[in-house]
Symmetry: C2
Subunit: 202 residues, 2 copies
């Protein structure tokens, strides 16, 4: 039995924190007590950042990435290569690829992958708008950068069926052994794939 | 190098979350994206709980526990034994002892323990108000329930010096082997103490 805290405001703050994934009541209490030890103005600012969060955040009309305006910073950047589209699952994947600094094209955020178990079909994803972007012309290559899982592969297959009539070059990110690990620890499937997809040694 | 997020509102929410202990920018982003997937009204409520947190929370005049009013629910409860005071470090310890349901007296929350390394001296703690409570009379026993650490022991010693002229019975919570663990895993100090402080077998 979990006793209630001796203050309704404390109880409310703890309850709100514990609605977040991976945060239980004990952690929530620790976080709230940490906030209580900070100046009132800082705590007000903390709350304010979330009060206005949903109303302030927009999604880019072009690539569906999170944005402050109708077109996101990446799509609006004149230095990016507008002929390349990298298809990703979510905004974290955009950030991960941006951090590699190996891609200078634009993105297309699907908002998930096809997963019948979770009730996610092609209609729930931004696939139609991807087809429209490619059909509008000017695209030389679409890179599929979804997770190398069954759901990711299903989605890749679905997208390739939709895009192939448009005659655009389609590629998928390389799968193989991870860099920096001993080969003996690599899983069989990735190791097998790394042999099949071997590249010329420079 | 950590790139900024493509939205100032997102950046701000992530920054606020990552000011909390144990939450880095990756976890913060995961929590913010979770909030973004929830209805706008829920996210507003989440923020509101923290905007008003500091202004709504009070501390009990008697025991310094967190409270919604001038006197906390425990101190105001007529069924509690007002002649017993349990001295604890913080509000988490009050909750922990309340959950054992083995104590029906009142508390006194010090707000920490004496720790010269962290710059915490007796003057930063609620020790003077404890002495005043005991001096006011009607107290039969003061139980010291601080952590069994060097800082806790120093604080126990300091409080006992302050209270002994008042002739009140002082006790400290038992130290020994933890219940449910194999004896071979008990640390030497606790095991030694458990032999010294053995109690009659009923």
């Amino acid at each position: 039995m979990e006793r209630q805290y001796p203050s309704a405001a404390l109880e409310r703050a703890v309850r709100e924190f514990s609605t977040l994934p991976g945060i239980g009541r004990k952690t929530a209490l620790r976080l709230v007590l940490h906030l209580l030890s900070r100046p009132e103005e800082e705590v007000r600012q903390f709350g304010q950042a979330f009060v206005s969060l949903k109303s302030e955040i927009r999604y880019c009309k072009v690539c569906h990435n999170i944005s402050d305006s109708d077109v996101c910073m990446i799509c609006a950047n004149p230095k990016r290569d507008v002929s390349m589209i990298c298809v990703v699952e979510n905004i974290q994947d955009v950030l991960a690829i941006e951090n590699t600094m190996q891609f200078n094209g634009l993105y297309h955020v699907l908002g998930g992958v096809i997963s019948p178990v979770d009730g996610v079909g092609p209609m729930n994803l931004q696939i139609e708008s991807l087809v429209e972007r490619v059909a509008a012309g000017g695209i030389s290559e679409v890179i599929l950068a979804l997770s190398p899982t069954m759901e990711g592969d299903t989605t890749n297959f679905f997208i390739s069926r939709k895009l192939s009539p448009l005659g655009v070059k389609l590629s998928v990110i390389a799968r193989g052994v991870t860099i920096g690990n001993n080969l003996e620890y690599a899983d069989e499937v990735s190791l097998g794939r790394s042999i099949l997809d071997r590249t010329p040694f420079v």
